[in-house]
């Protein structure tokens, strides 16, 4: 009887081990596929931000408009800052050879980054309890994509961007045109290149 008891115990242990392995395997496979599927929704080139700017007597008045992947305006900021060059800082996060862009800070040539104004919460939207950067809202959006983007978003917001270690960097962009050349009615578009990770400002 004792012999059978050990046999049953061993069989149960084997079943338990197999069950745990199966769960681990499913989790690993599922999470891998999720990232790839989510990335496939990203556009190769998109414009999350458009800017109007007016500089006078060392004060920069700016209007920023944020756009989602379909080109719909989702948020806006109107503000001013001292200086004559406005720097718009983006987090660029590289995941599986694709780059995600998040405009997050504004400062000027006179103000150091540490004293800059955080802008990332302006374009945040609550999707049934999941906080999501609306600039990544897309027609093809699904639950998997939502969780993928929002997990990166959480890392940025909680200041844990360093979690991505070598896979992130910041890029602060600023116009170089002569102040007198800047047309207050002109719209400047921030074009983000998902595959390469570059950002440029193009006058519309």
């Amino acid at each position: 009887m004792k012999k059978y008891f050990w046999l049953i115990a061993i069989v149960i242990l084997f079943i338990l081990a197999a069950f745990i392995l199966k769960i681990t395997y499913n989790f690993v496979i599922r999470s891998r596929v999720n990232v790839e599927k989510a990335i496939s929704i990203l556009k190769n080139e998109f414009i999350p931000l458009k800017m109007k700017i007016f500089i006078s007597e060392n004060i920069i008045k700016y209007q920023l408009k944020f756009y989602d992947q379909m080109g719909i305006n989702v948020a806006a900021i109107n503000d001013s800052i001292s200086g004559n060059q406005l720097l718009i800082d983006f987090y660029v996060i590289k995941i599986k050879d694709n780059n995600l862009f998040f405009p997050y800070l504004i400062y000027s040539n006179e103000i150091p980054p540490v004293m800059g104004k955080k802008i990332f919460e302006v374009y945040e939207k609550n999707y049934d309890g999941i906080l999501f950067p609306e600039i990544y809202a897309s027609d093809d959006m699904n639950e998997n994509y939502l969780y993928f983007i929002s997990s990166i978003w959480q890392a940025i917001k909680s200041g844990n961007i360093t979690f991505f270690s070598s896979n992130y960097n910041g890029n602060a962009l600023h116009l170089l045109s002569n102040i007198s050349e800047i047309d207050p009615n002109a719209v400047y578009e921030f074009v983000c290149h998902t595959a390469k990770g570059g950002i440029e400002i193009v006058k519309h």
Binding site: G83, I111, S166, N171, G198
Partner: protein
Amino acid sequence: MLNIDNKIILTLLSLTIIFSALYTVFQFLFKFHPEKKVSKIFFIFFTFLKSIFIVAFIIVGLYFVYYIYSTINQYLTLIELRKYVKNLSKERVLAKIIITDFSDINFNCIVELYSLSGKIFKKDEYQIQGTEFYIDFVVLNFDYIFIEKGENNIAYPSVLFSDLISYDNGIQLLSPEELKNYLSSDSEKFYGLSENKVNSLSNFIFKCIYDNSFARKNGVRSIVGSALHHKILSKSTFKVYLQNTGGLTMVQENF
């Protein structure tokens, strides 16, 4: 586009030859054996068929010549496109930032600047207050049409600053004289730089910055300042690349 293959052409050619042969036979009979009674209607019918097939053969033949021409053309376009894609996907290293030491309040780094042809131009060591380095570049992005034709975007290093030091209080990486040398060393590589047009790449860039219409006329899509930055977490090395698709990227080198 019509799908005409060799079989159709060979069939048409065969039929044309057969009808031409029949036509010749009948013509021979009419000319040299007028005593033999051959139906004139039959002869006219074959003459008609022969003419139709000759015309059809000529049309298809011409189409075939056109088809060969367009195939060669497509192949050449494909070769060109491959060149364009290759040029668009090109990236060049601009700078290397080596973090040699760091603490909670400052850091030491070596900045190596590379000319656009990839040669090391300047190497210097700096000690800066802060925990995050910012390296700013001036970038000129050309229209894709020029990039596709083989031109390259232009960038040069400008200011080194940090999270605690503003852009204005940062370190100028190149003096005006160094900047001229930096840019003119590669000037022959870029678009719109014939001797008659501008003296050097630096003149060209400054003119682009201060004159929007000049920049547009010369195919410059955008001129921006781009300050790449990274939090300092370890003694590591970062490389800055200029992309032909537009903008700069920075990667941390892994050993």
